[in-house]
């Protein structure tokens, strides 16, 4: 009788497909996973603790570095929470600018996901195509905020910089360009038999499981649950625009893939309307006291980031610094289902499922 034993394999923290320094320890029986234990914390920087000794404007750059693929939405959740606490009125022009950069950010973030996901699956070219188009968005952000990745763009009560002249036109030109590209990507990837065979039916779960694990974003909507905070709890100006929330049915990686691609189209739709309605004048900063001191109390604000529901919970004691600040990071929460999903899958599917969750390690570890 041949004696066989399980193989303990350490995937990460230095592994090309864990998207940074995420680590997962798997027990393998042949190539089938019998147990998976995620190990987090390699990128932990103590953002929440640091925030307790910083004033609110100083915290904004730290949010950039949480989910560095989608810094604009992170900016927004913090300033939105503080504004909610202090009842600050944000000028319309500023709110429009915020919405436009957030939707551009959503497109950019989904493009990064799309490219890296295909890289995980073994196709190299889509990664470079995605980054070409993301580069245009990055350039737009560079023009408006002076940075390419960590924008530090929003402030409590408005935005730091007004759009430079011609910027809105560039956004307008970007929309048809991106639509054309999306069609090309569909032709290149979405119909590829090998790709479909790799992701269809992989990493499947139902709506109840998804809700029990607190999933959000595309990871929740792929099961058919209609939950997009832009629709269900409209913030910013989202109630003014027409857009759909793409939903899946099966809850597998393929549905998640389709939803994210469809969300790019919906974001472009929102951008189109926002650019058309963009106010020609107005302030970019509301009336904000020189030192931001929210009244004593608590607030929880949540928005729809490209990865799901990102929340910011603040306890204020009436000082310039928060008493306690907590971020609900969608990447972290969405990851919790991973050990359950991976049991019984192969090594190859580990990469497919992990990539399908769409994590950013900066946000997982915060």
């Amino acid at each position: 009788m041949i004696r066989t034993e399980e193989l303990l394999l350490n995937v990460g923290p230095q592994h090309p497909s864990t998207h940074g320094v995420f680590r997962i320890v798997v027990k393998l029986d042949g190539e089938v996973i019998t147990e998976a234990t995620p190990v987090m914390g390699y990128l932990h920087r103590g953002t929440e603790k640091l925030a307790e000794s910083l004033n609110y404007t100083q915290i904004i750059p730290y949010t950039d570095r949480m989910d560095y693929v989608s810094a604009m939405t992170n900016n927004y959740v913090l300033v939105h929470a503080v504004e909610k606490m202090m009842n600050i009125e944000v000028p319309e022009r500023a709110e429009f600018l915020r919405l436009i950069v957030m939707e551009l950010q959503r497109v950019a973030s989904h493009l990064v996901w799309w490219g890296t996901y295909l890289l995980d699956i073994g196709a190299m070219s889509p990664f470079l195509y995605a980054f070409r188009d993301r580069e245009i968005i990055i350039d737009l952000f560079n023009e408006i905020s002076g940075a390419r990745l960590t924008y530090n763009y929003m402030r409590v009560g408005g935005v730091k910089w007004d759009a430079p002249s011609g910027w809105i036109d560039k956004v307008r030109d970007f929309i048809p360009y991106m639509r054309k590209r999306m069609d090309e990507y569909d032709r290149l990837v979405s119909g590829n038999e090998i790709f479909l065979a790799r992701i269809k039916g992989v990493g499947q779960y139902d709506a109840d499981t998804a809700i029990a694990y607190g999933l959000s974003g595309a990871n929740l909507r792929c099961t058919g649950v209609d939950w997009d905070l832009r629709k269900t709890e409209p913030y910013s100006l989202y109630d003014r625009f027409e857009f759909d929330v793409p939903l899946g049915q099966k809850g597998d990686c393929y549905d998640r893939y389709l939803i994210r691609l469809q969300e790019i189209h919906e974001s472009l739709r929102i951008l189109e309307q926002a650019v058309a309605q963009f106010p020609s004048g107005g302030d970019t900063m509301g009336k904000v006291p020189r030192v931001i001191r929210p009244p004593a109390g608590e607030v929880y604000a949540r928005i729809e980031s490209p990865r799901g529901e990102i929340g910011c919970y603040i306890i204020s004691k009436g000082k310039a610094e928060p008493y306690r600040l907590k971020f609900r990071r969608p990447s972290f929460v969405n990851l919790q289902i991973l050990p359950k999903l991976l049991v019984g899958e192969t090594m190859t599917n580990l990469i497919t499922i992990l990539g399908g969750v769409d994590i950013v390690v900066g946000e997982v570890d915060c």
Partner: protein, 336 residues
């Protein structure tokens, strides 16, 4: 060359043989150097990049620089590796890859050995390389390389059989295993080549050939996004270079074999173009096959290992057997 082989062995003949072998080795190494350059350029252009441009004019010396770098690198052997097998593995991978080239006829006169079992020789030798890959994966004492090596073994069984079965049709049509006879049986017009009557066999052969090369979409033993680099994770320096070298020599071999078996070898595509030397036609068809392999790499995602196996056994093998049956029926009915 042919007369030379038939002559009795003397020291003089042996020296001539050795000389030709060395010349051919340099031809192949030259091909590998520029195949790598060509691949990087082609994929670069397909991916909106430039590819190598820095070393030498148009980056032409990039691969030379890479090889020099690999030569200068420290040759590490992991402490817990199986030393003897670890050293043996790259040799086992490389030697068959070069040895299979002996039977391929490039033109009417240019070619080394015209074995009457040429095709069998190719299939038999090329599968030895897989043993090298498995050994390398095992001897490294690394879990990722072990997985890569095991995948390679599983993959070899699933594609090698359809690969051999797919060319049986060609053998039946020509009544010979000798590659020179197979080329001779094809005509001076492209509709007289084997790929048209043997279209099923041709498609199966192409798929299985890509699998034999361990290239995208069948690069499972390497699978850089899953197994990091698979079986050669622990190899460095020139031992690693040998694995890479073998991969590109097999690109050379498979492209040449495809040209010989299905694309008419040195024959021109139209009889009126007969005045152009056969070697040029061979090189053109051969280059197209090489390009096709690189093109696939820029386009395709990677297939999963269980899907590859079920595809090999449940689709390719039955189709190959069907192809043999159809060819047999064709020969019987038309009494060829």
């Amino acid at each position: 060359m042919q007369e030379l082989i038939q002559q009795s062995f003397t020291w003089q003949n042996g020296l001539v043989f050795f000389g030709w072998g060395v010349v051919f080795l340099f031809v192949v190494l030259g091909f590998v150097t520029y195949a790598i350059y060509f691949e990087r350029k082609v994929i670069g252009w397909m991916q909106l990049r430039h590819g190598p441009t820095r070393v030498g004019p148009l980056g032409l010396l990039q691969t030379v620089a890479d090889i020099l770098k690999l030569l200068l690198k420290e040759d590490t052997i992991p402490k817990k590796a199986d030393r003897a097998l670890f050293i043996l593995a790259p040799v086992l991978v490389y030697v068959p890859s070069f040895a299979v080239l002996a039977t391929i006829p490039y033109t009417q006169s240019l070619g080394f050995a015209d074995l009457n079992v040429g095709l069998l020789y190719y299939a038999a030798l090329s599968s030895i390389s897989t043993i090298g890959v498995v050994l390398g994966g095992w001897a490294s004492n690394n879990k990722y390389s072990l997985l890569g090596g095991m995948r390679s073994a599983a993959q070899m069984i699933s594609y090698e059989i359809p690969l051999v079965m797919s060319v049986v049709g060609v053998i039946m049509l020509n009544g010979s295993l000798s590659l020179r006879t197979i080329v001779g049986g094809q005509g001076n017009n492209f509709w007289e080549w084997n790929f048209l009557p043997q279209i099923i066999g041709f498609v199966i052969f192409m798929i299985a050939a890509v699998s034999e090369l361990n290239r995208t979409p069948f690069d499972l033993p390497e699978a850089e996004s899953e197994l990091v680099a698979g079986y050669h994770v622990e190899y460095s320096g020139f031992r690693f270079a040998f694995f890479m070298l073998a991969e590109y020599v097999y690109v050379f071999a498979i492209s040449a074999l495809t040209t010989v078996l299905f694309l008419g070898g040195w024959h021109p595509p139209l009889a009126v173009l007969d005045f152009i030397p056969g070697l040029l036609w061979f090189v053109l068809k051969f280059s197209f096959c090489v390009f096709f392999l690189f093109w696939l790499r820029a386009t395709m995602p990677r297939i999963r290992v269980d899907q590859l196996m079920s595809f090999g056994w449940k689709v390719l093998l039955p189709l190959a057997i069907l192809n043999i049956f159809l060819t047999a029926a064709y020969i019987e009915i038309f009494n060829k």
